[in-house]
């Protein structure tokens, strides 16, 4: 099997996922197109050598429907011969797209492929694609379906994270993200999104609240107490009867933000890289996905990490940097607790609590973040993972060349 190398990674800044967000006036297609253009132009890429573009997208309907990956290939004016496919592994879609692109390279299906993702949450709201899982009694009932926030609160209840714990984590995430921006740690990957005239519309993450404090977060009401009370607490308690009461600790300030954004990562064989004059920045060391208990939904990251490390013959301590999507503070706290990972190695530049989580794109974004940080700090290996809807986990380990 060939090795898959990473040659480049780019992302848009993340715009507030509301009608007054800067990227709301740009289509999802435009965001995806600009990502592909950036990868092409930064690398002087002969796009006829790109076999496939895999893009994650979680609500692939409306303007994000009908295979937005192939559509963006065409609007970015890649060679007609470049294929495109859209994939959905919920919140890990972006990383899954990268893993698929890498796998295509490893198996020899592709010499060069792009993985990435796009989500305009302000334009195609979360959940607007419907789906059988929560709606169809046949699946919802059997899987003890509850919204993710209930699962996050359940994690906090089961594993003993207080409101102070999750708020403290959120404040730290904001601090780290602010520091990373101040020191220009994202500048390698982030490009300014251009408007219809070609003027820069947004060049910095828009969602951040660097001034957040324990006091300011304390004033926020828990987001999932009401639906929990209505029915969903009772549902998860039937699956987890050891929980006397679900402690609702999550709110807008310690959960991932709703934002718009897109990202892409360029993978290829060493030979194709050499032929195109590209310098490999990292090698994909391993990839894995798992299923975990769907009702609590968000405990997958530690399990997929264990699976992948075992496969690679590595230990938790062998990884220099961890990136775990900050869907909810408790998800990260639980993974650190479960695997005994020090906070110093986890999400060193903040995460989705501060910068937002454009569902289909985040996995590709944080893969790029990890790569940039390895280079900045001259470290070797990073593990990138996300918790996933319906109880899954996806992970990737990369190492610098």
């Amino acid at each position: 099997m060939a090795d898959a190398y990473i040659f480049d990674a780019v992302r848009t800044p993340r715009g507030k996922g509301k009608k007054d967000g800067a990227l709301h006036e740009m289509t999802a297609l435009s965001l995806a197109t600009q990502v592909l253009e950036q990868l092409r132009d930064r690398n002087n890429l002969d796009t006829s050598k790109v076999d496939d573009v895999v893009l994650g997208c979680v609500s692939p309907i409306g303007e994000q429907g009908a295979d937005i990956a192939r559509t963006a290939v065409l609007t970015a004016e890649y060679a007609e011969t470049t294929a495109g496919v859209q994939v959905n592994r919920f919140c890990a879609s972006g990383l899954e797209a990268c893993n698929m692109a890498a796998a295509k390279v490893m198996t020899g299906e592709a010499d060069m492929a792009i993985g990435g993702g796009v989500e305009s949450m302000s334009r195609v709201p979360m959940g607007s694609d419907g789906g059988a899982w929560p709606t169809d009694p046949s699946s919802a009932f059997k899987t003890y379906f509850a919204p993710q926030g209930i699962g996050a609160d359940l994690i906090a209840s089961l594993y003993g994270f207080s409101r102070d714990d999750v708020d403290a984590y959120a404040v730290e995430s904001q601090k780290r993200a602010a520091r990373a921006w101040e020191e220009g740690r994202f500048s390698k990957s982030v490009f300014g999104v251009k408007d219809q005239l070609g003027l820069t519309l947004l060049d910095r993450d828009e969602h951040m609240r660097p001034d957040a404090t324990m006091q300011s977060l304390a004033s926020l009401n828990p987001s999932f107490a009401a639906p929990g009370e209505l029915a969903f607490d009772a549902v998860v308690q039937q699956r987890y009867p050891q929980v006397e009461r679900v402690n609702h600790v999550h709110h807008a300030g310690n959960s991932s933000g709703i934002v718009d954004g897109a990202a892409g990562v360029l993978f290829g064989t060493r030979e194709m890289g050499e032929a195109l004059g590209l310098k490999p920045r990292a090698r994909v060391k391993g990839m894995a996905s798992i299923g975990s208990e769907p009702s609590i939904m968000l405990t997958g990251p530690s399990y997929v990490t264990e699976k992948l490390l075992k496969k690679l013959g590595m230990n938790v301590g062998d990884i220099d940097l961890y990136e775990l999507n900050e869907a909810f503070a408790a998800v990260v706290l639980r993974m650190m607790q479960a695997l005994d990972i020090p906070h110093e190695k986890m999400n060193v530049n903040g995460g989705s609590i501060a910068m937002g989580h454009p569902l289909g794109a985040t996995g590709a974004m944080i893969l790029g973040t990890a790569l940039d940080e390895l280079e900045r700090t001259d470290k070797e290996t990073a593990l990138v993972t996300l918790c996933v809807g319906a109880g899954m986990g996806t992970a990737t380990v990369i190492e610098r060349i």
């Binding site: 709606t135 919802a140 009932f141 509850a146 009772a234 549902v235 009867p241 006397e244």
Partner: protein, 731 residues
């Protein structure tokens, strides 16, 4: 045709009179199913007929639906090995008959109106929904509803398809899932009927519609039809199902396949044309019929309850006994509640206590219940005053004179009971009945205080008396059949469901219920986390978890009962960790339960109850994780512990009729209704498998699970309780 009569008037409107011969109420019998298509054929093909009005020939209402007696025998599968595909196809075809017929009715090309003078329930409403126009009478007794889910079934004649297409899923789902009925006005507001008129006018109004508008096309057969509120994947519709799925799990704990299948019918059916929806409905109908829950629930919750409610086990050769006056001794919560239900049934009530103040307090309790009813407009003030005037609170035993029956409801003390028994008996006729509302003290012993032990009987009411439908009648050793018959007449008069049991410690209901709460305590002393015990306890289908139930019943009471039992049994009593736990809670810590705000739970004034943190010191937690295997084990322990006790009651002759055992369990202590009761539970598991599980549990947890000899016999012979002890005639 025997069940339908067709008369065509001068305007060409056919009046179809639905009248099942030999029955007081129209039900959908086999003959009705055979004749209905002929009616439709005639409406369709007779050129003289322009449209039809279907009305009932019965004063009792339009139609009460399917014959549940017939269905009960089909439900549950079991013996019937219909696994072969051909059999299943044949079964589908037969179950689809009424759907096919009603679909033919609404697509016959001529307008059909339904005149509803009285109730239309289940299949009765489903027939009505297939009419193009429905007129209901302004009759306060008129009910329209689909009650199938209450007995473990789902509406199988289009109810799950037409009602949501009329009302929208959001409004229709609770009606179908909970089996609630609508009044004529509610039905009008929801579009379920189109017009409400004065009683006696429905046929005329229906005819007028045929003549003046007479549109023969259902809304769902129009091209532009949209489900009100949207289908399952419209923005509003998806929320209905996402939340509906969760609400159903919250309420049913997954114990009721009928409700889940109803939800599936509506979800899947609304996404396709109605013909496909009806096929989907019939498939889920058959699936539901095949569950043990359907069989057990039809039997216990409908057939047995109906039979017992008519006094099925009353001795036949005793003349009816009309109870006009009853003295109630003791005006506490129970006595006052009994006085209330008696007065509601028109019985003159003497309510006695030791002080006038206490007796008046009892009257005030009854008044409180009546005031609430008046406040909710369920009763007129006049009626409430009249009911209240039937109760005389007093301290004077002379007023007991002339009572046909006495109910003693004083404190659970043999001495006090003996004293009031003597005082009251001195006042009443030799033919009068003396009943004791004790919940624990053996009747034979209490009867020793009586001059006439043959007239002495246990009449065990449940609290709160005005809401609980069960009365457990306890036969003492010397109680006569005549006394039993008279007592039963009294219980039926106050509209309660009687079960009859023989004397034993705790009789039947308290004895079996006690095993549920105690098993919870056993688990606690085993080291299972209390939250797991109560959450899984609730999920078994019991109304509350065992620990919170202990708190509600009161721990000091449990302690007292244990002490009394210990005294009575002497050396035979084996004290265990549970005794030590209760003693510690009550004697050392003064934690009596909900009543003093301190039990296994704390009861803060400003919020919901929380488990008492100190409990971990008394019963250290060893098991704090609950996997599926543990959940299943706890379920089994809680349900089987009660069921094995019920089986012992059979062996000891405490209960003799499975209907008494099952209905008594469900109405008396809320035993998981989905099982049909503890005896139905054993029957549906099968004695052999039940005994095997009990043997395993005995080995692991102790002899309290040890199956009685009777069960081993039944396991060997393959008998069921209903087979061996069943007195119910096939309905």
């Amino acid at each position: 045709m025997e069940n339908f009569k067709i008369e065509v008037d001068g305007d060409g409107v056919a009046l179809v009179t639905f009248d099942v011969p030999g029955r007081s109420m129209n039900t959908i019998t086999g003959a009705v199913m055979r004749e209905f298509p002929q009616v439709i054929e005639q409406i369709k093909s007779d050129p003289a007929i322009k449209g039809a009005v279907i009305a009932s020939g019965k004063p009792t209402g339009f139609c009460a639906g399917a014959d549940l007696g017939e269905m009960g025998t089909q439900a549950g599968g079991g013996q019937d090995t219909r696994s072969a595909e051909e059999k299943l196809r044949a079964q589908f075809d037969s179950s689809f008959t009424l759907n096919r017929t009603l679909r033919a009715l609404e697509t016959c090309g001529k307008p059909v109106a339904i005149a509803l003078e009285g109730l239309a329930l289940g299949g009765g409403l489903e027939i009505a929904l297939a009419g193009h126009y429905r007129v209901a009478a302004k009759n306060p007794k008129l009910q329209l509803g689909l009650p199938e889910a209450k007995v473990g079934l789902l509406p199988g004649a289009g109810g799950t398809q037409r009602l949501p297409r009329i009302m929208g899923a959001m409004k229709a789902l609770p009606l179908i899932l909970e089996g609630k009925s609508m009044t004529a006005e509610e039905a009008l507001a929801n579009g379920v009927v189109h017009e409400v008129v004065e009683p006696g006018q429905t046929i005329e109004a229906a005819k007028t519609w045929i003549k003046t508008k007479g549109d023969p096309v259902q809304p769902w057969d129009r091209k532009d039809f949209k489900v009100p509120g949207g289908g399952p994947f419209s923005p509003g519709g998806s929320q209905v199902f996402i939340l509906g799925n969760a609400m159903l799990r919250k309420q049913s704990y997954g114990n009721y396949p009928a409700q889940l299948n109803i939800l599936k019918c509506v979800f899947e059916g609304l996404q396709v044309p109605i013909d496909a929806g009806l096929r989907i409905e019939t498939r889920y109908f058959l699936k539901t019929m095949g569950t043990p829950q359907a069989k057990a629930m039809i039997r216990s919750l409908f057939l047995s309850m109906q039979e017992l409610g008519k006094g099925a086990s009353r001795p036949k050769d005793v003349a009816p006994y009309d109870v006009k006056q009853v003295a109630v001794l003791g005006a506490g919560m129970m006595g006052a509640g009994i006085a209330y239900v008696q007065a509601m049934a028109g019985i003159k009530t003497i309510l006695i206590d030791t002080t006038q103040e206490a007796a008046d307090k009892g009257l005030a309790h009854a008044k409180g219940i009546l005031d609430k009813a008046v406040g909710r407009k369920k009763m007129t003030q006049e009626k409430a005053d009249q009911v209240l005037s039937l109760i005389t609170p007093t301290t004077d035993y002379a007023l007991v004179k002339g009572s046909d029956l006495v109910v003693e409801a004083v404190f659970e003390s043999r001495e006090i009971k003996a004293e009031v028994t003597k005082k009251a008996e001195a006042q009443i006729a030799e033919t009068a009945v003396f009943g004791s509302n004790t919940s624990t003290l053996p009747i034979t012993g209490l009867a020793k205080a009586s001059e006439r032990p043959a007239n002495f009987i246990g009449i065990h009411f449940f609290s709160p008396v005005d809401k609980m439908g069960l009365v457990e009648i306890i036969m003492g050793k010397e109680t006569s059949q005549e006394t039993l018959a008279k007592t039963m007449d009294y219980v039926l008069k106050i509209r309660k469901t009687p079960i009859v049991v023989n004397d034993s410690r705790g009789f039947y209901t308290s004895r079996c219920f006690g095993t549920f709460v105690t098993e919870g305590l056993e688990m606690l002393t085993d080291g299972i986390a209390p939250a797991i015990i109560d959450n899984v306890g609730r999920a078994t289908g019991m109304p509350r978890g065992p620990l919170e139930m202990n708190d509600d019943v009161a721990l000091d009471l449990a302690h007292k009962v244990r002490e009394a039992t210990k005294k009575d049994m002497g050396d035979q009593y084996v004290a265990g960790p549970v005794d030590a736990l209760i003693s510690k809670m009550v004697v050392d810590l003064g934690r009596f339960g909900r009543k003093n705000g301190k039990g296994f739970y704390d009861y803060p004034s400003d919020g919901p109850k929380r488990l008492w943190p100190g409990l971990a010191d008394l019963a250290p937690v060893k098991t704090s994780d609950a996997d599926k295997a543990l959940i299943e084990e706890i379920r089994t322990r809680l349900l089987y512990r009660q069921a094995v006790e019920a089986a012992r009651c059979f062996e000891e002759g405490v209960v003799t009729d499975p209907r008494d055992a099952d209905v008594g369990a469900i109405l008396g202590w809320g035993f998981a209704p989905w099982t049909g009761g503890p005896i139905s539970l054993i029957d549906s598991v099968g004695a052999k498998a039940f005994v095997e599980t009990c043997d395993r549990l005995t080995e692991k947890y102790g002899s309290r699970f040890s199956p009685p000899k009777l069960l081993r016999e039944m396991a060997a012979s393959g008998e069921t309780f209903y087979g061996r002890f069943g007195k119910a005639k096939a309905a």
